[in-house]
Symmetry: D2
Subunit: 338 residues, 4 copies
């Protein structure tokens, strides 16, 4: 951490900062420049030290040096993690394809989609039983009924299942029925929920918040990891920008960035990012080319009857075509479709 | 709702949309333009209808006409709501001043601040017992201990108290100790939590999410209102933008916008928006001039020893000065400081 | 400037950075921390040094310490500048009110508006003769004809006139007819144009770019100042964010920020920020309360016949009402309406 | 265009809107819903009609139906355009690779880079002679000297050359020396400049503005096309968002979007988007997978001595490796590297 003093900070203010650093148990390295005095703090990072120092008189700014995450970072673990979900491996050579409907709507819809995903070559099934909806008047999911259908779909197809959990009190319930717990974008900083899934031994799919920085996202992962659950897979799903032509703006630079900063696997959800099925194939291919460890794609047997996210769901024919297009692409970047 | 067809949508596609609208129980109004066919849907809004139609073949876009919120909107209730918290009235002529530390850190800090707020003319005390922190390594609040201190501070000063609740399971606990439940920006779309506070009879202070639109914010309020709790006060606290010089960008246009769309009172938190105490007075004054029904300001007896948000907290002298500056300003816009 | 080395940067890389700093004529201050080596550069800022160092092997990041602007900053000039335009003083005790139509449309419209502005108490007249329009099919302004009408309006009312210039080759022409040259948001980084207006002795009104940081804005001012024209007034007019309910998001924190970083006067254009006349009065009042040195407001005798920006223009009655509301407000913050 | 009336708009207001539409020569289609009256306007789009109507009393909003661009759109020209630059074809099966330094710095640097680009398989050379720099103190380019060097580099390697033009008065000069005129992000809405390059017969590379919507970008292209120059290639180069870890956020959804809305070719500049060379290869590959018609990549023989943009420039070894990785990828999406 480096403390930059204001141009007019006098000696008393400089000494006060030094004293506070020493109080915090940090070493001090003083550097008097032509126009500014700069004070380096040497030693272990102290919680809150940056805020404390920024509030001091005569301090212009405090520049953090160390990454704020530890377990999620590359410094403690250099080699990439592989997260396994019932035989499906995230972070390995194979690109994992998760697909399914936005929401579980009923037996027919779910089982038809599950068979389709299986037949086309998908590795996992997605489907929401608890749905976070912007409007209280929108379909909120089937709840436990939906979870049971997911478990049954897994039994029929052998595909492991991922589903979102919204409330800390439901974590145990959802973990009972599904193979992987999804934390949605709206809950990326729902810290009670993160801690709760951190206490289970179910792998966690952690979506990036709609306006989260990559650093905040890794700190959210840190909440899970710190509880002892090391099976975290990150999922980029678009961020909020000014552009109205898409639901969100897919930030594919997040993939090489995460790979540089962290050992955790990272996948991409092009469906929520685009918000329009027409854009999904191009973005899915781009994600694989950029090095994503997997894709999560919304598929619906009849998008124009979907109870949610119909406009961004691929129909069966488009989904099958996309999978076929992804195969040579994965190979071209030295990987394979699982 | 208006369905705009693609330029090349043929008659079959147009008829399919009409059939679907009728299926949904909506009236149909067909308009064939020079380049586009447009289909108006007449009748009650149907959940999910927009998504269903957008997913149909030949549909270019669907334009919603009605506001998606009902209880929060002006159409059912024209007159502004006044929300009362133990004698303090939000939405009335007086501008409510809430102040206090970011986090409750201990007896001395809290009681000293409470006396200061009281003496300077504040109407309510704020203080966090449960703190949502980006990093798991940062101070997370004193929990129940903090709530007890808040209750004691109220007993000493007579100031009603507002504090944040993070987890649905803590709602009852927090409601036992404080007068108003705060939903923080990170939880604006934590729908379980919104429903839970909606079930209590404690007034709710609902902060705008860091990247929420005004419409999404009003829909979050709708979640609370719909459970039967009509005492909702909105709080603008800055949105995330590209500008690095401030923590967030305070969006004061939200005040006249909310007043136009909704009957709910709206206050402003300039401290979190700015992230720097130096900017707080200007923004606080701007908020009152823009018509805010109140302010929520972070004050700390010793900002450079604060366990959180020190850099954006006013010290006692600056706080007192601000209050004095706010008085004539409130009068100049036809109001008064409570 | 501080160079933060990567955790694994070896001695050779550290020495290479030191050698490069010395080559650039900078002093070196080496600090070896527990996990990182940090190298401070002491001396005059060298153009491009940050980029050069960031591109070196083993460098994690380079943190600038000094503000990149000089003439616009507070370090060379501590006292606020007052910019005078034909008797109107920006940056002094009085709040300057500029008003007028978005575009000059013709004699009747302009003269009627000018009389209205004058009668209501405005200090300057605005009006576009060259209009930057997103679409090539929209009204592009009357050009030289419009400038002549502006000069005639000034003759009739005595109000100084400000108008936008879009092209370096038109600077001389526009400067011949108007009292203050406006650089619009789209041209904030049109450096040829900035240099050209910098060569005139006409005061310049420099709007903030639609996605410019405050630092970039001050650097744009620096381009003008550096050519010898010290009469620069800044104008905040809203930045682009994700919120669709307003045309832009007015960033009022820019006012105290600019006042902290720079000696230049700063005014606010609430009309372009809001994009809706209904929101303009609240934002205009907020701007004055936040410390703006002036306002620029769009007024039109018949907004629903305006050739541009009708929806955000106040009609005469609303404009007069706003001016009356601004008077006591300006007084409440220790100023007066000019 | 559809005019949505306010819920309480009375008959007089409705009739006024109808009268105005008729005045504008538009047909009228009236639809009285349960809660709103909606008025459709049928006929040719009238400039400014939307603004005029939005400013009318009783109008809640006006929804445009037709795309505002014509020559850039798919409606007048269905088949994709191929833009040829001295034998290099944009928009055809081959993916065009443009590479070179950010700025032309001198003979040695440029010729060395040009040979490298040629040898590695690039199709065109880039290099800035006029540089738009945020700070007036940064290197501004060699101007005419730089153009001469570019022409000489073309003579030596046979690679066509693209270079940026900043000022309308320099268009002729730049067009004399280079094969393709680049309009940079900061000048996307410099309409004088757009018109000027539209008058030449040099192909134009039009970068997306740093906060431009796709629609605004296509309207900027429309300015060029409308002057008679049909050889426009679009270039996505990242947009400004809140994420600090990258210089900009590359918006790859712009590729399928542009392809859907327009017949113009579109390429991608991953270097400016990322701002860090480490992220460039992943984004370059993603762009090709998403369907880009070309790439523009910054290469420098010695990035740590570059006079601008060193941190985002690939060194020769990394550039050669990237080209080799792009070959199989282009094939996997049915294309080839030129």
């Amino acid at each position: 951490m480096i403390v930059v003093m204001e141009p007019k900070a006098d000696e008393a203010k400089i000494q006060a900062v030094i004293a506070r650093l020493q109080e915090l148990g940090l070493g001090v390295h003083l550097s008097r420049g032509v126009e500014r005095t700069i004070i380096g703090a040497i030693g272990e990072k102290k919680d809150n030290a940056i805020e404390i120092l920024e509030a001091m008189d005569g301090v212009e700014k405090v520049v953090p040096i160390l990454a704020p995450f530890k377990l999620a970072g590359r410094e403690l673990q250099e080699t990439p993690s592989v997260v396994e979900v019932d035989g499906v491996r995230f972070g390995d050579r194979e690109v994992v394809l998760i697909a399914g409907p936005c929401a579980v709507e009923g037996e027919a819809q779910l089982f038809e989609t599950a068979e389709l995903v299986k037949a086309a070559g998908g590795s996992m099934l997605r489907g929401g039983a608890f749905k976070p909806r912007t409007s209280p008047y929108a379909f909120q999911g089937l709840g436990r009924e939906g979870l049971k259908l997911l478990a049954e779909a897994r039994r029929r197809t052998g595909l492991p299942v991922v589903s979102e959990v919204l409330d800390p009190k439901d974590v145990e319930l959802v973990a009972e029925y599904v193979d992987m717990l999804q934390i949605g974008a709206r809950n990326m900083q729902n810290f009670s929920l993160l801690r709760e899934v951190g206490k289970t031994r179910r792998p966690v799919l952690l979506k990036r918040g709609i306006s989260a920085t990559v650093e905040e996202w890794l700190l959210a992962a840190e909440y899970v990891l710190r509880e002892g659950n090391r099976a975290v897979v990150l999922c980029e799903r678009g961020i909020r920008t000014y552009e109205p032509a898409t639901r969100n703006t897919l930030d594919l630079s997040a993939i090489p960035l995460v790979k540089h900063l962290s050992h955790l696997p990272v996948i991409v959800d092009p469906s929520h990012a685009a918000g329009k099925w027409r854009l999904v194939p191009a973005l899915a291919k781009a994600a694989v080319a950029a090095g994503a460890d997997g894709l999560m794609i919304e598929v619906h047997p009849h998008p124009d009857h979907a109870l949610s996210d119909g406009p961004q769901s691929l129909n069966p024919a488009n989904f099958r075509r996309l999978v076929e297009e992804l195969r040579p692409l994965a190979q071209a970047v030295g990987r394979a479709l699982a």
